[in-house]
């Protein structure tokens, strides 16, 4: 400051002038500053909005799938239709039709009757069959049974379409609506918790379709993936961090791991198709092959996470163990591994969560087949939850939209649970050295 006072008056004015220029521009610059900051905030808000929109759109479409419309019908287990020697193959559909005719005797003519039969799901016949097979003494008796309604009725009861549309634009015709109304008046139609959704395999009929087959398929696939990728990933990480010499060979391995982490998942599917199915002749659509493919896909994730965990164990621990005479393998097994395990587990869970949500490579190895049966082992044909979602999206029935959304909710619930476990592990066992 003293210096400026001592300088000539000419220079003093020039300093003031610069200051003026700065002050003049200041307002603009502050405005730009505010704009920039707001832009950044807007970007964050935008991504949060997308997230919210995604969750809202899926849950608002999906929550209704956890209820399902049932109808009460009065069934007379007609001994004439149920011959004792062929209970398994008897005409149970006939029983359902008969009781529907009894409920609405006014339905005459083939078209009317067919419209009437359509109100009840084809699953009703199977339900009656199971009842009779379990309790054969039902034959000859009359019983009130709640049977699942057809998906169109279900959609109507849940308010997914407007009854004021012209008749030829709706799935349910006027006479069907009249029957539904009269059943509603008699309280013989109501929504119950949809257990089918959790206990059944896939089906072409939305009201009979469930996710159990897909969940079990996902479970088998993930078990295979975990059993293979965790030991292999941890072993690879241990070798690379603790034993590997620094040379071209280990560099090559490292570059490979980093690149594999970024290879599109569908390429792993091509690998699975060409190698596991065509070369080794493993069964198509099997969780075994799915698990193998996902193992190769998640290995880089697990290796990278495990290496970070090993690296965070301070060298002093290794040196102390070496100092009291442990071999290097003992140092790793007794000290490094237990200390790095929480980090490795966290990485593994995150890798598993990724594998659970993965579907593209599984499409390549035939896990997209329409499979009704719940798989019983790792070589049975199966599908997984994300692929089930993909399959249902393609189905034209309106009722599949809500079931797909519900399946997405289940999938997201699993993922949230897994990630929460990972976060918990990290919080609980994380050690700062």
């Amino acid at each position: 400051m003293n210096n400026t006072e001592n300088t000539s008056p000419l220079k003093k004015t020039s300093v003031v002038r610069t200051m003026d220029i700065v002050n003049q521009g200041l307002k603009k610059r502050y405005a730009a500053e505010r704009r920039f900051k707001r832009l950044g905030f807007a970007a964050i808000i935008a991504s949060m909005l997308f997230l919210a929109l995604l969750f809202v759109s899926i849950s608002s479409n999906g929550y209704t799938a956890f209820w399902q419309t049932f109808m009460k019908i009065e069934v007379f287990f007609d001994p004439e239709l149920l011959p004792q020697d062929a209970l398994r193959t008897a005409d149970y559909g006939g029983l359902v039709k008969q009781s529907l005719r009894n409920m609405f005797p006014k339905a005459k003519g083939r078209r009317d009757k067919r419209a009437l039969y359509k109100l009840v799901s084809t699953g009703a016949a199977f339900q009656l069959r199971d009842m009779v097979l379990q309790k054969p003494e039902l034959i000859g008796q009359s019983l009130e049974v709640w049977v699942p309604a057809d998906d169109d009725v279900d959609m109507f009861i849940k308010g997914h379409f407007d009854r004021n549309l012209p008749e030829d634009e709706r799935r349910l015709k006027d006479n069907q609506l009249a029957w539904i109304d009269s059943m509603t008046a008699q309280e013989s139609i109501k929504k119950k918790i949809n257990t089918t959704f959790f206990t059944a395999g896939d089906s072409r009929e939305p009201e009979l379709a469930g996710i159990r087959g897909a969940v079990i398929g996902s479970f088998y696939t993930l078990v295979i993936t975990l059993l293979l990728s965790f030991p292999i990933g941890v072993a690879a990480a241990i070798y690379l961090e603790e034993f590997a010499p620094r040379n071209r060979w280990t560099d090559l391995i490292e570059v490979n791991i980093n690149n594999l982490a970024a290879v599109p998942s569908i390429v792993f599917g091509l690998l699975g198709l060409a190698v596991f199915l065509n070369f080794f002749g493993l069964p198509r659509s099997a969780p075994l092959v799915g698990g193998l493919v996902l193992t190769l896909m998640t290995l880089p994730t697990i290796i990278i996470a495990s290496r970070a965990a090993i690296l965070s164990v301070p060298p002093s621990i290794r040196e102390a163990a070496l100092g009291v005479g442990a071999s290097r393998m003992q140092v790793v097994a007794h000290h490094v591994l237990p200390l790095a395990l929480p980090g490795m587990l966290t990485g593994t869970i995150i890798g598993m969560a990724r594998a659970l949500g993965e579907s593209a490579p599984l499409l390549m190895i035939g896990m997209v087949a329409f499979i009704v049966d719940v798989p019983g082992g790792i070589t049975d044909p199966a599908t997984v939850l994300p692929v089930q979602i993909y399959l249902w999206v393609d189905s034209p029935e309106r009722a599949f939209v809500e079931r797909t959304s519900a399946a997405v909710m289940v999938l997201l619930a699993f993922l949230v649970a897994m990630n929460a476990t990972a976060v918990f592990l990290r919080k609980r066992f994380e050690r700062r050295w």
């Binding site: 964050i44 690998l271 290097r328 593209a360």
Partner: protein, 464 residues
Amino acid sequence: MTVSPTLILIVLLALSSAAYFMGRRRAIIVAGGKAGVKNLHSLPAHYGAWAALWCGIPALLVFGCWLSFQDAIITGLVINELPDQVRSLPQDRLTLVVNDVKNLVSGNIISGDVDLTMIKAADHYRNLLVTSKATLGVVAMVIAIAGALIVLRFIKPNTRARNHVERLIKILLIFCSTIAIFTTIGIVLAVLYEAIRFFKVIPITDFLFGLEWSPQMAIREDQVGSSGAFGAIPVFAGTLMISLIAMLVAVPIGLMSAIYLSEYASKRLRAVAKPLMEILAGIPTVVYGFFAALTVAPFIRNTGNLVGLDVSSESAMAAGLVMGIMIIPFVSSLSDDVINAVPQALRDGAFSLGATKSETIRQVVVPAALPGIVGSILLAVSRAIGETMIVVMAAGLSANLTANPLKAVTTVTVQIVTLLVGDQEFDSPKTLAAFALGLLLFIVTLLLNVLALQVVRKYREQYE
């Protein structure tokens, strides 16, 4: 009773643990009781582990090889037993017959009529399978027991069991770490092999520079159908357009969020926003695809119709937009790391010259972090190109060569999926085309990744 592979595995496991305990006991015995353990070269457990490893590993290796090649060998044997007129069928018909036999064995419905020879062949196959599994069980068990016995005989007080065990374990570790290399080799070989078969039928220049893509091939000779066109330019153009839309969404939003989070945000906001971003990153792509097909595509179509635009129901816009949302967290977390790595001294220098925060960021931090940001964008591009489920569910199948983002376009990944889901014929260009596309996809993403990693690494070294 049939011998299942699971049973063999369980038995092997049991044998190995038995070998462990026997090895340990043997070591204590040769040392002359518990008191003499200090005379041993290694801990008793090492002797046990030595026995267990030699019991389990050779048997497991045999087990794995046997199962891998069992199918091929049995099929060969069954084909040899087939009557001559069946064996003289052309290769593809023979494959069909063999498939029918296999289906008969597993009790599935088969395509053709069942005749006596097929039933006989199926029985033969089934017998061979049972024999093979039983033999495998016996062989594996003999090898396991022999391995354990040999090691048990070798146990003396001065045997260096620990060194043996540690060497074996180290070999195992090395093997595990080379799996990454084997995977890469496997990918390259598998995809390359089928792609070369494809290029033998369709010249590579036709594939790379052809303007028409319609891979419908007549599978049977007499079938009505086009001969197929395999010009991949429309497919590449579609991929590029969707990736471009995705990047137009993801880069500004991702970059700005990263800048805001690392430079402006309070600790509390960061604590909330970062995990939310991670959730966005953790959502499976099939869910994004569903979101695109269910919500975004109809929304864009309706908005377009309101303004009077003709929007196709599977527009590139919908798929690209949702893909962009998916990539936001990817860009933002990578750029966040890069921006945080810019030394504080640079910022302090800019502040001391009187720069405002945004000027510092725009003129100092971002230019300093630019290589890293470019690297992260390249990684994001490679991700967008390889993304499958969103485009399969929300983009179209028809390969239009168009620059209009409201029209339906197709992508490389969509074509791979549609060509390979369903019936596959590994002698028709239709199926092989998928591998050619896969090869291209692999090469392009590999180049992008290598480039990106190189850029990022170089930049990190500058400041370290």
